[in-house]
């Protein structure tokens, strides 16, 4: 075998603390190495050209590049050796940046370690063999999970791109958090007027199938060929016939359950259409409060329904769909502020969340768009906004900034003045974070044109005094304590990951971060991809985001899906497990341990049980290879012999030393 070694300087990233020419010189002494050199930037165009040239000039069979992490450039170099006419698996990478130069300061030690890592790569490469990818067809259909604004955008873009789309939403209507908002910043335009047409497009688009009141039950398969089961929950209304006339909603006598769409500010009837622009505009029964379903008497809705679509016997329904790609857009939840005892833990009625305030502002809200305090229905004059409730606060395990609260508070301060001209808003803030387009100007407007009083400091406590609430906080700019008598206190609550996100992530094999938000493949270069091929992220499920960012990500995820499904065939990674049937005793241990269900039991022609790997499902994790008692499964490209060769290169067996 003829091996070429290239030691990358990475500018001063590696060369600063590693003697690269010396590593290159040492590499020339390793077995099978016929060519070795150092290069300024191996990943650059001249750097890659030099590798290709060397393969041709020196007639190389394999290439080792010692540079950064394989996560960064393994693909780059594999493509380069392929262009030089080699198989892409005849390439090995030694990480001498993250593993050496960035963590050690001593040049001698670093140089030695770099040489050893190169030796390891050379020993492995000597045992590499060419691998060929298999090609397979894809299902031209997309699953979008979550019908908020990000999911809506992704679904519409995919559908416009010619793909069939299945949109699954767990609430009764699509629209998500945005549908609950009154106005949006920084344009102060009506939220549902912007979102409404898009929601209608979803309902009318020939390529989109919409399942609301539905959740993803299970996900199997792999990129291009996912099998998904969706649970359509019983609504007790036959939606094929329901016209959304609302007669049943008017007549329903049970109104004891809080209305989730109105953030529990008022009660909702047991059979309900959540809001006037709901898509689909169909009624659904809340099984927990319906008198017929809980006590077996009433049934008024069934009597008044002109199309007889009420069905108290309805059951959940499971739907199986095959899709080629999945977009996750499950959004976020609001932080539960009851963890703040100093804000009353819910004891004071006139302390509400910003989303509740949004419902009070909304014309379709419980007060018809008039700001009334929950306790006595009076119009508040002094409204105090408290920022960073459940954001940037380690004490409640929410150290991150939720990003949009500064903006929506400014918007609400402006709207308060619009609704009640003689009102005064106070905003307690830590600092203002408004970096978007026209955002800072918007906050300035709240302060300067609308006279919102901004006080920098946290609020220590809220306590009632008479029919007012005293908000006590610090003004850290003036260095004094302040007390503001408030008629209404609005808590700008931060965002946290949606309920059930972690469980959904398990089904999709997408990892959550420590706060439950899904982790993207690369924070800068792959913001909507995940580490599971074919699964993409959009919107606040990846981290708190405002509407423009969510829509942008929805479109980005859609473009990734369209790119993926535009290929007629996909290639599978050939670095998967292989069973040696001669050694396999058919014990089935590998089948039990495989986390991806990639191994199945088969029979050979004599009827003996054997294991067989499903190439396209196998993720190449290698758990089966260490499980197999016979050593009958080997992971291609990472066989026992290759791993052992690496280990021996690092620490030569003592036996050799003793016998020499």
């Amino acid at each position: 075998m003829r091996i070429g070694v290239f030691i990358c300087h990475c500018g001063s990233n590696i060369a600063g603390t590693v003697d690269c020419p010396s590593v290159a010189a040492t590499a020339l002494t390793y077995p099978d190495v016929v060519f070795s050199t150092d290069t300024m930037y191996a990943c650059s165009e001249p750097g890659q050209d030099a590798i290709i040239q060397a393969v041709k000039d020196k007639n190389l069979d394999g290439v080792v590049v010692a540079s950064c992490t394989p996560r960064m450039h393994e693909q780059t170099f594999r493509r380069a050796v392929e262009r030089a006419g080699l198989n892409r698996y005849m390439f090995e990478m030694a990480n001498i940046r993250e593993h050496v130069s960035w963590i050690g300061k001593t040049k001698d030690l670093n140089t030695g370690k770099a040489s050893e890592l190169v030796r390891m790569a050379v020993e492995k490469l000597r045992r590499n063999r060419p691998l060929m990818a298999k090609r397979f067809e894809t299902t031209k259909r997309v699953l979008v999970i979550g019908g908020g604004v990000a999911g809506i955008q992704a679904a519409l873009d995919c559908a416009d791109g010619g793909q069939e789309v299945i949109l699954v939403e767990r609430e009764q209507s699509i629209g998500g958090k945005m549908a609950k908002l009154d106005k949006t910043f920084p344009t102060v335009d009506c939220s549902s007027c912007v979102l409404g047409p898009k929601m209608v497009d979803i309902a009318q688009h020939p390529n989109i199938t919409l399942y609301t009141c539905a959740e993803v039950e299970s996900v199997g398969g792999y990129v291009g060929n996912f099998q998904v089961t969706v649970r359509k929950k019983a609504t007790y209304v036959d939606w094929a016939r329901c016209t959304g006339c609302g007669l049943c909603v008017e007549k329903c006598p049970s109104r004891k359950m809080p209305d989730p769409f109105n953030e529990n500010l008022c009660n909702a009837p047991s059979i309900n259409i959540p809001f006037p622009q709901a898509i689909p505009k169909k009624a659904a029964i809340n099984a927990a409060s319906c008198l017929m379903l809980t006590k077996g008497k009433c049934g008024l809705c069934a009597k008044v329904c002109p199309v007889k679509c009420i069905d108290f016997e309805q059951k959940d329904e499971l739907v199986n769909v095959d899709v080629g790609a999945i977009v996750v857009a499950t959004g976020y939840d609001l932080f539960d502020w009851h963890k703040y005892p100093q804000y009353g833990e819910g004891r004071y009625k006139d302390v509400i969340t910003s989303l509740q305030y949004e419902r009070l502002l909304s014309a379709s809200g419980p007060t018809g768009g008039h700001i009334k305090r929950p306790s006595d229905g009076k119009e508040p004059k002094n409204v105090v906004f408290i920022q960073c409730v459940g954001s940037r606060d380690k004490s409640v395990n929410r150290p991150y900034c939720s990003g949009f609260c500064c903006m929506y508070t400014a918007k609400q301060a402006i709207l308060t003045k619009d609704h009640i001209p003689d009102s005064q808003s106070y905003v307690f803030y830590m600092d203002i974070r408004s970096p978007g387009k026209l955002y800072d100007e918007f906050v300035r407007r709240a302060m300067e044109e609308y006279g919102a009083q901004y006080v920098r400091g946290r609020v220590a406590m809220i306590y009632p005094k008479g029919d007012k609430l005293v908000v006590r906080g610090a003004d850290t700019l003036a260095g004094t304590q302040v007390e503001v008598p408030a008629d209404l206190v609005v808590l700008a609550v931060g965002a946290e990951s949606a309920k059930g996100a972690v469980q959904l992530g398990e089904k999709l094999r997408v990892a959550p971060d420590q706060y439950g938000f899904f982790v993207e493949s690369h924070p800068k270069l792959k913001p909507v991809e995940t580490n599971t091929a074919g699964v993409f992220l959009a919107g606040a499920c990846q981290g708190p985001k405002d509407i423009p960012a969510s829509v942008g990500q929805g479109s980005a995820a859609a473009s990734k899906v369209l790119g993926l499904l535009s290929k007629a065939m996909l290639e599978s990674d050939p670095a998967v497990s292989r069973v040696n049937p001669a050694r396999c005793v058919g014990c089935g241990k590998c089948i039990q341990t495989c986390p991806f269900g990639a191994i199945k039991a088969v029979q050979d022609r004599f009827g003996n049980p054997k294991a067989e790997v499903i190439d396209t499902v196998c993720q190449g994790c290698g758990i089966c290879t260490v499980t197999c008692p016979q050593g009958a499964i080997q992971l291609e490209h990472f066989t026992d012999n290759q791993i052992l060769a690496e280990v021996n290169a690092l620490c030569p067996p003592k036996m050799f030393a003793n016998f020499e």
Binding site: P341, Q342, E345, R347, M461, Y463
Partner: protein, 294 residues
């Protein structure tokens, strides 16, 4: 019968004599035996820990060692300030290095094996509410009470480990059990100004004034407290506060043990109502006399 080592604290010997006597009386009535700690000394009060943490802890540790010498593991004190010092010393001595420093100052080393609780916590957690209810002979119905815990009885929560640190309910529940109408008092754990009464009276006037104002605001006939210093600031200084703030507060400030003893029918002499500065008779007069069966 529950047997607990009792640390009266210095104020119990003087400024809050009525708190001490009423505490002893109600505990006796509720089958809680208080055993005085022999030769106890001052816990260090406010000044000690502002000067030297080890020395301050040693003062408290000496008392804890005394409890250990009695062969007991549980102690109680009515005074939240003493409680804070005893518990903080104990908490800090969980660090062996700190414990060694403290023990170097003591004749008898402290093993740090004593759990100190406020009398309120003992009553709330170790006495069956039904037992208390059964012993009530004069229910407190008719009187509106604001329960005031003071700032250190429940805080910091990781040291005090009792009730809620922002909205404690133990005293509220106890008073409700006795038949009183407990009004929601929003400033339960606010500071009264504490020992600033001597160097900076104006601070106490402002802070305690706010408490009295809040109590009046929620319609309380009386404030009930568990802290000698709070009681003094609110009661003894109520006249000063009125002068300073041009107010006219006349809100009696009881120790919760006094009203508990009243409800249990304990002899007035042991409850020491006459030691209160703001005349409590109007408030006590609101308590409806029980229907006489005689």
């Amino acid at each position: 019968m529950l047997k607990i080592a009792y640390y009266p604290g210095c104020s119990g010997q003087g400024t809050s004599l009525e708190y001490d006597t009423s505490t002893r009386a109600v505990c006796k009535a509720l089958d809680v035996e208080l055993v005085d700690i022999p030769d106890w000394s001052c816990c260090g009060s406010t000044p000690a820990h502002t000067v030297n943490h080890v020395l301050s802890a040693a003062l408290s540790a000496r008392n804890l060692a005394q409890v250990e010498s009695m062969g007991m593991t549980k102690a109680t004190t009515p005074c939240p300030s003493c409680l804070t010092n005893l518990r903080t010393a104990s908490h800090k001595m969980d660090d062996p290095e700190f414990k060694d420093k403290v023990n170097a100052l003591l004749d008898v080393p402290c093993r740090n094996a004593v759990d100190t609780q406020s009398v309120l916590q003992v009553l709330a957690e170790n006495v069956d509410p039904d037992l208390i209810k059964g012993k009530v002979v004069k229910p407190l119905s008719g009187i509106k009470i604001a329960c005031y815990y003071g700032c250190i009885m429940n805080r910091p929560p990781e040291v005090m480990k009792f009730d809620h640190h922002e909205n404690p309910m133990a005293m509220d529940n106890l008073m409700a059990l006795l038949g009183a109408e407990v009004v929601p008092f929003p400033l339960k754990v606010e500071c009264c100004g504490a020992s600033y009464g001597i160097p900076r009276g104006d601070i106490v006037h402002r802070l305690s004034g706010k408490l009295l104002d809040a109590a009046r605001d929620v319609g309380a006939d009386a404030i009930v407290t568990a802290c000698p210093l709070c009681q003094m600031n609110l009661d003894l200084r109520q006249g000063q506060i009125n002068d300073a703030l041009r107010e006219n507060f006349r809100i009696p400030v009881f120790y919760y043990t006094q009203l508990l003893g009243y409800a249990l029918g304990i002899d007035r002499a042991e409850l020491g109502f006459e030691k209160l500065c703001v005349d409590p008779r109007l408030a006590l007069g609101r308590i409806k006399q029980p229907q006489q069966a005689m």
